[in-house]
């Protein structure tokens, strides 16, 4: 153990024991970020702030929420919304935040795809990010059940029913997940546990891994340029700030993030106070009733695209039922993004619009996801069902075609 000198100040006392100086350097003032970035690079910090807002508002809600089918609905809509001081504020922040966090996740994710930030050493950043997407989805789904409204109940019913399509174990699995033969009190209580404990713990763990995964391959930049970070950092530290290709996380990178955050929060709070219906469906202000099926059942907007892939296959093909085909397609849709780094066979790390073939693929995918999302909400009748089928097939075909398209692109650009 090192020899300790008498500390001259409180700061030094702590620094001797916790290495504050070094910690701040490693984490903040000498953590290097490329300078050539745009506001899309602020989404990570936005997500961190949103997650914090969700945790804090969630803690306040947790003080009054009652996970019991007889008390849940009124504990939310009466106790929290009307009796507790500013309870409505925490609920609105939580409900709208849960929806907006997915908007930012999607922007963050497609920024990664657009700029090719998932390959050439950045695979673990991508995979840990996709893991976060799955965990946030589970968190969103379990949380949506808690107010115990009609949509809470019926969305839970429909989504847990999906697992029944898995061969051999499906039926037992559904009962195991619900803790009963139908969605009931035991389902609510266990989803409550998942929502407030297990999944948040997993999310925090995954965030740590995600941040750590950034340290070695470093953050990508707007041009997809690879350079020596140590060399550029030295330049910066030597005072040549203008010619260095990097900036420190604090204060330079964060100053830009705070600016983006400020305007984002303005938009967010507008939604929280004045335009929250999209995140708090009117149907869910009717208490859950297992005997009264709502006319239209749909998940929250961020699940609509994969929900539409699930129900896009509504007829039998080659002896396999539509339900099974939908389930297979749904499973693929949820897993396929994990393997993006290996489906993209082109070595180019460039914005999609500078890649000769990939750009078409990217914008096709975006258009298809929007179609899937919109038709995921509409009733699947008549022509809608066929649009659903066509866009689900398009989604699958796009991913089957990706390795071939990118291979051809690699050939065209000659491995560059």
């Amino acid at each position: 153990m090192a020899e300790f000198k008498q500390a001259d100040s409180l700061y030094e006392w702590f620094d001797q024991r916790l290495g504050i100086d070094k910690f701040v350097k490693v984490m903040m003032t000498e953590y290097w970020i490329p300078k050539n970035i745009n506001f899309l690079w602020a989404m990570g910090v936005l997500l961190t702030v949103m997650f914090t807002l969700l945790v804090v508002s969630g803690i306040f809600l947790l003080m009054y929420y009652k996970p019991d089918v007889a008390a849940a609905f009124d504990s939310v809509n009466y106790t929290i919304m009307q009796e507790v001081g500013y309870g409505w504020l925490f609920r609105h922040i939580h409900a709208v935040g849960a929806s907006v966090v997915f908007l930012i996740i999607y922007i963050h994710m497609f920024t990664g795809i657009y700029y090719g930030s998932y390959k050439k050493g950045r695979e673990m950043i991508w995979i840990s990010g996709m893991l976060l997407f799955v965990l946030f989805s589970a968190e969103g789904f379990s949380g949506y059940m808690l107010p115990w409204g009609q949509m809470s109940y019926w969305a839970a019913y429909v989504i847990t029913e999906i697992f029944g399509g898995i061969p051999l174990v499906g039926g037992d699995l559904v009962v195991w997940i619900r803790g009963n033969f139908y969605v009931s009190d035991s389902t609510l209580t266990r989803f409550f546990m998942l929502h407030v404990l297990l999944i948040p713990l997993a999310i925090i763990g995954a965030i740590v891994v995600h941040f750590y995964a950034l340290r070695f391959p470093h953050v990508n930049n707007e041009a997809g340029e690879f350079f020596d970070f140590d060399e550029e950092a030295e330049k910066y530290l030597a005072g040549d700030k203008k010619n260095s290709k990097v900036v420190p996380f604090w204060p330079v990178f964060l100053s830009k993030d705070f600016f983006v955050l400020g305007f984002f929060l303005l938009f967010f709070f507008y939604l929280v106070f004045f335009h929250y219906d999209f995140a708090m469906d009117p149907v869910n202000f009717d208490k859950a009733d297992g005997l009264k099926t709502p006319a239209h059942i749909y998940p929250e907007w961020y699940f609509l695209w994969s929900y539409e892939v699930l129900r896009g296959f509504f007829f039998e093909i080659a002896g396999i039922s539509g339900k099974s085909l939908g389930l297979i397609a749904f499973a693929i849709a949820n897993a396929i993004f994990f393997v993006m780094p290996w489906l993209d066979r082109s070595p180019m790390v460039k914005p999609a619009n500078q890649r000769p073939y990939f750009k078409y693929w990217f914008w096709f995918l975006i258009a298809d996801l929007i179609v899937l999302t919109v038709y995921g909400k509409l009733p699947p009748t008549g022509a809608n069902a066929w649009v659903g089928f066509a866009s689900s097939m398009t989604f699958l075909v796009l991913f089957v075609a990706l390795p071939f398209i990118t291979k051809a692109e690699a050939k065209k650009v000659g491995g560059k």
Binding site: F269, Y270, V374, L378, P379
Partner: protein, 291 residues
């Protein structure tokens, strides 16, 4: 500038998606129906241009109505407790004190002439069917006599103070069937009786301002069959002002923090705007050193 272009693209994509899953999907799932009609112009049995004679109306009401109906404002109390009245008639007969104020004149006159057609409940009480509506049709009265009754009911309706009127109207118009548990109000017809009478327990309306929204309620109260064909909820015939009072009361109870939400909202956004501007200025200062 490039960053604005990126922002515009994202805003466009988000806007298209939003349009599809909110306004457009809503339009597909809830097609627009015709606007509320507060003149009830489909009812034409009584000539409502006749001027009513209040004195004569008083005599008619005392001879024909108060055996079943209380009119507290005119000194006629209820004949029996609510539970007994519900057991006798199926539902507690309304106190008529506020009827002259709440109901449209044309509706009220035609209701007296034939309640079932005015309420649009002939699917529930067909002519010659097994079940009869508890109030008989007064189609034997002359139009003049009916207008005399209407004139009398209008004359006895008490003026209600502005601060109480929403609740008073709700209680009188809806409160015999619909509880409002978030206002600690229970329907005056006992639970079992109202369930037997209507076929299902009429819903508690505490959160209906949120689950149905003002626009839907506006159309639904005016003409339930139009939005929910076959429902046993009657068309109640409220005039526009009374209907607005009912909806306002549903909002007072169901969305009691609305005013607080809107005022806090403005302050929070103002605070955030100041933060955003300061953050922008700070960013410009910091980045001027590295560019």
């Amino acid at each position: 500038m490039k960053e604005f272009k990126i922002l515009a693209i994202i805003a466009a994509l988000v806007g298209i998606t939003y349009y599809g899953i909110e306004p457009y999907a809503h339009h597909v799932m809830h097609p627009e129906v015709k606007a509320a009609d507060f003149t009830f112009k489909d009812l034409k049995n009584v000539d409502t241009s006749l001027a009513g004679n209040t004195e004569n109306g008083k005599a008619l009401v005392e001879a024909n109505c108060i055996a079943c109906h209380a009119i507290e404002s005119a000194g006629h109390p209820a004949m029996m407790p609510n539970a007994d009245a519900a057991a006798s008639y199926g539902v507690v007969p309304p106190d008529l004190s506020h009827s002259g104020r709440m109901y449209d004149k044309n509706y009220l006159a035609n209701f007296i002439f034939d309640p079932v057609s005015a309420m649009k409940l002939s699917h529930k009480y067909p002519v010659g069917g097994a079940k009869a509506f508890p109030m008989p049709a007064y189609n034997w009265m002359t139009p003049q006599e009916i207008m005399d009754v209407v004139s009398y009911l209008q004359s006895v309706a008490p003026k209600v103070a502005e601060k109480d009127v929403n609740k008073v109207t709700y209680d009188a118009a809806c409160g015999r069937c619909h509880s409002m548990s978030y206002a600690k109000f229970e329907a005056t017809t006992p639970k079992d009786a109202i369930k037997a009478y209507m076929g299902a327990t009429p819903p508690d309306l505490s959160q209906y301002i949120k689950s149905r929204k003002e626009h839907y309620l506006h159309g639904f109260i005016n003409d339930p069959q139009l939005l929910l064909a076959g429902t046993s909820m009657p068309r109640v015939g409220l005039n526009e002002k009374a209907q607005e009072e009912v909806i306002a009361y549903m909002e007072e109870v169901g969305d009691s923090k609305k005013a607080e939400r809107e005022s806090v909202g403005l302050w929070v956004m103002l605070y955030t705007l100041v933060f955003a501007i300061l953050a922008y200025l700070w960013k410009r200062k910091i980045w001027s050193e590295v560019h």
